[in-house]
């Protein structure tokens, strides 16, 4: 039995609606921003319960735009985590600031107990990540930030459809970044991203900066960039947005079956705790496995497309050399990088496929 990680051909097998809108777009020739982009921004703002959504070309651009809009720049430090996608840290460096890492907790989220000691007079912002589609303790992070007058940028790239005590991820921080990369719960057929904020001035600035710093066609107030969401992709996003809640619900059901199955192997597998009041999106289903590399090889050999996100924590990447970190600085991040594995959890899995995964993992450990 094949258990593929990539579900995109299945997701986009029914595309009449997208093609119909795409036809309208071609007739309208609004290929730069325009009504389809604005429509999606409004829909997403409503979906997460936030005043402004400014779409961008990528999730990376969204992080850069959010940091820039909050005035983060050279000489500033931004606190984030070493277990995340490269772009989280790339964005901090892109605006000229210095990334400062803190370790993660056993749910792979920023450990709020480590934030205080990472703060220096140069700290400007905290950038927590909703890693895997779970959420850090945003209330606690906001309290710390407010006490110290720091800005917060949530990396909510994996979090559309999540919930934290009745509030959507990406609505806590001052400006928050989202991605619509193909393997996210809210995805387009290429790259796309957005920033959410409740601040009118920040929203205005971001709209200007993402489109060459233009006030109007003839005037540029600042050197800006081009990080516009493609209207073609905005159309896809609008269509997929209608399905996100359902997608997240199915992913939760699948994750629950996996949780129950894997918990029976508690000696070999550590499933992260799932505290009450949080709805994760299961953008990734991750757990920690003994003999991870051998297990992964075994599963891949049985056509189960397991992955690792990611085997090298970011403070140990070549790109981070100049930051002066070393092995041992973030013990949990380093340990988990050797133990974590990601299993398919997507909305097109059958119960048969899920059982097949659990069964094969059991078989692997029973042979050890």
């Amino acid at each position: 039995m094949k258990v593929p990680y990539n579900y995109l051909p299945m997701q986009f097998s029914e595309v009449e609606g997208i093609i119909a809108d795409w036809n309208k777009l071609v007739q309208s020739t609004e290929f730069t921003l325009g009504p389809f982009v604005e429509r999606f921004e409004k829909e997403f703002a409503e979906f997460i319960g936030c005043k402004h959504v400014i779409s961008t070309n990528t999730g990376t651009d969204a992080l850069i735009l959010a940091l820039k809009a909050l005035g983060v720049g050279p000489g500033d430090e931004v606190i984030s985590v070493p277990i995340t996608f490269f772009a989280t840290i790339g964005a901090i460096v892109a605006v000229g600031a210095r990334p400062v890492f803190v370790d993660i907790d056993d749910r792979y989220q920023m450990d709020i107990n480590h934030i205080q000691k990472a703060i220096t007079p140069r700290t400007k912002a905290i950038l927590p990540v909703h890693w895997a589609g779970a959420s850090p303790d945003m209330q606690a992070i906001m309290t710390i930030a407010e006490d110290l007058g720091l800005k917060v940028v949530e990396d909510a790239c994996m979090a559309p459809g999540g919930d934290i005590h009745g509030k959507h991820p990406g609505t806590f921080g001052h400006a928050n970044a989202w991605s619509m990369h193909p393997l996210k719960p809210l995805n387009v057929m290429g790259d796309g991203g957005m920033v959410s904020t409740n601040d009118d001035d920040i929203a205005d600035w971001m709209r200007m900066y993402r489109n060459h710093g233009m006030i109007d066609r003839d005037h540029n107030s600042i050197w800006g960039v081009n990080m516009r969401l493609q209207p073609l992709q905005a159309i896809v996003a609008s269509h997929v947005l209608k399905t996100v809640s359902n997608t997240v619900e199915i992913r939760n059901k699948n994750a629950h079956i996996l949780d129950e199955g894997l918990k029976k192997l508690a000696d070999c597998i550590k499933v992260p705790s799932r505290p009450a009041g949080y709805r994760d999106t299961f953008s990734l289903y991750m757990a920690r496995f003994k003999k991870r590399d051998a297990l992964m090889k075994y599963l891949v050999g049985r056509e189960i497309e397991a992955k690792i996100h990611y085997p090298i924590p970011l403070h140990l990447q070549k790109a981070a050399e100049s930051l002066g970190y070393k092995r041992g600085d973030f013990p949990l991040s380093e340990q988990y990088a050797e133990e974590i594995m990601t299993l398919p959890v997507h909305q097109y899995l059958t119960t048969g496929q899920i059982s097949y995964m659990i069964q094969n993992i059991k078989t692997f450990y029973s042979k050890q």
Partner: protein, 370 residues
């Protein structure tokens, strides 16, 4: 919105002609499940390399990103200077500033492109690169610019955003400098249905750096050599671009025929954009120099012709450039140019009837005033 007799573009009509092929390309990508840097991007890059006779080609998200990523990858330091023209689209200069360098402007020739004779006196010990712009699809004077660059050991980055297919002395733009940056924006001759950009370079080292730079600095899925950006040409756009690319040469010839026809019909009234020796222009915009430009533009607009100005305010006078301390007396040729330029509708599906309408209005305007 006024209903134009002669609109500035005909994107919808032109997309409709290719609709069947577009939809097929769209569906193919859709069903492939490969949406990021897949086979369509690779194939488009290869086709573009052959077209430009450039050894290395890389698709990126936008034309602006192309300029920005190339400049960053050249290793510019804060305080380095890059020389460009002040009468371009804002991205020519903003990409320099955002890459950490200082934009330095030189005046233009009467044809709208950078004046090579003025370059030397703008070169300082901090100058790292010259960025000529092939404005309107007319090649800049590359041999003279490259001679100066060689003399001072400077990089040459062609801003070829408007000039795909243009050539000088039989050699296409995109293979003159160390690198060239093309825009695939909807209003360009080779266009996506959205944003896109593409870079050509003659250097393996620059290509290798850029290939990582456009994709987070990643060596592979797990390893990151340097913190960078995400600037990838959409797989979907690459597929659509390949459809239109097959028609580009025909469409360029159609544009050129229309431009030549405009030239002959409008010569008595305005300064027309004749080709210089060895130039093969692709007329991304067809720009005339007119007396009483503002009144003429209004007259044309009032009579159903969507004439535009590219660009009404030169970059050195933009609020964004204020810190560079240029003034309105710095570049006389640019200022004269900017006050007279007028872009007339030009696209492959423009009919002679529409063109005659434009010409009749212009001749009528000037006869009335004579």
């Amino acid at each position: 919105m006024p209903k134009w007799t002669v609109p500035y573009t005909a994107l919808s009509e032109e997309a409709t002609i290719l609709k069947k092929d577009y939809l097929a390309a769209f569906e193919k990508v859709l069903l492939s499940g490969r949406y990021i840097l897949g086979p369509e991007v690779s194939a488009f890059e290869q086709e573009f390399a052959e077209y430009c006779q450039a050894p290395f080609v890389l698709g990126v998200a936008t034309g602006t990103d192309a300029l920005f990523l190339v400049l960053r990858s050249l290793g510019l330091q804060d305080g380095d200077e890059v020389i460009t023209a002040p009468n371009s689209f804002i991205a020519s200069a903003s990409s320099i500033a955002l890459a950490g360098a200082k934009p330095v402007f030189v005046d233009i020739r009467s044809d709208g492109n950078m004046e090579p004779a003025l370059l030397e006196k703008s070169i300082t010990p901090r100058t790292k690169a010259i960025m000529p712009v092939h404005l309107t699809g007319r090649p800049a004077s590359m041999p003279a610019i490259i001679d100066i660059a060689k003399k001072y050991k400077l990089f040459v980055v062609e801003d070829a955003a408007q000039a795909v297919g243009a050539s000088l002395n039989g050699k296409r733009v995109g293979c003159w400098g160390d690198a060239a940056c093309f825009s695939l924006h909807p209003l360009k001759n080779l266009r996506a249905i959205g944003d896109g950009g593409i870079i050509t370079t003659k250097h393996q080292w620059l290509y290798d750096r850029l290939k990582q730079a456009r994709n987070h600095g990643l060596v592979n899925r797990e390893q990151c050599d340097f913190w960078s950006y995400n600037s990838r040409l959409d797989e979907l756009q690459a597929a659509l671009l390949r459809v239109q690319f097959r028609h580009l040469d025909t469409q360029t010839e159609q544009r050129r025929q229309l431009a030549l026809r405009y030239n002959e019909l409008l010569r008595p009234y305005v300064i027309v954009p004749d080709e210089g020796p060895g130039e093969y222009c692709v007329y991304q915009t067809y720009v005339v120099l007119a007396e009483d430009r503002d009144e003429l533009k209004k007259y044309l607009n009032d009579n159903g012709v969507e004439a535009l100005i590219h660009y009404a305010m030169p970059i050195h006078l933009q609020p964004a450039a204020k810190y560079l301390s240029y003034s309105s007396t710095d570049f006389p040729q640019t200022m004269q140019h900017v006050s007279r330029i007028l872009s007339l509708p030009i696209y492959p599906s423009l009919t002679h009837e529409q063109q005659d309408h434009v010409v009749t209005l212009i001749s009528g305007f000037f006869k009335k005033r004579a």
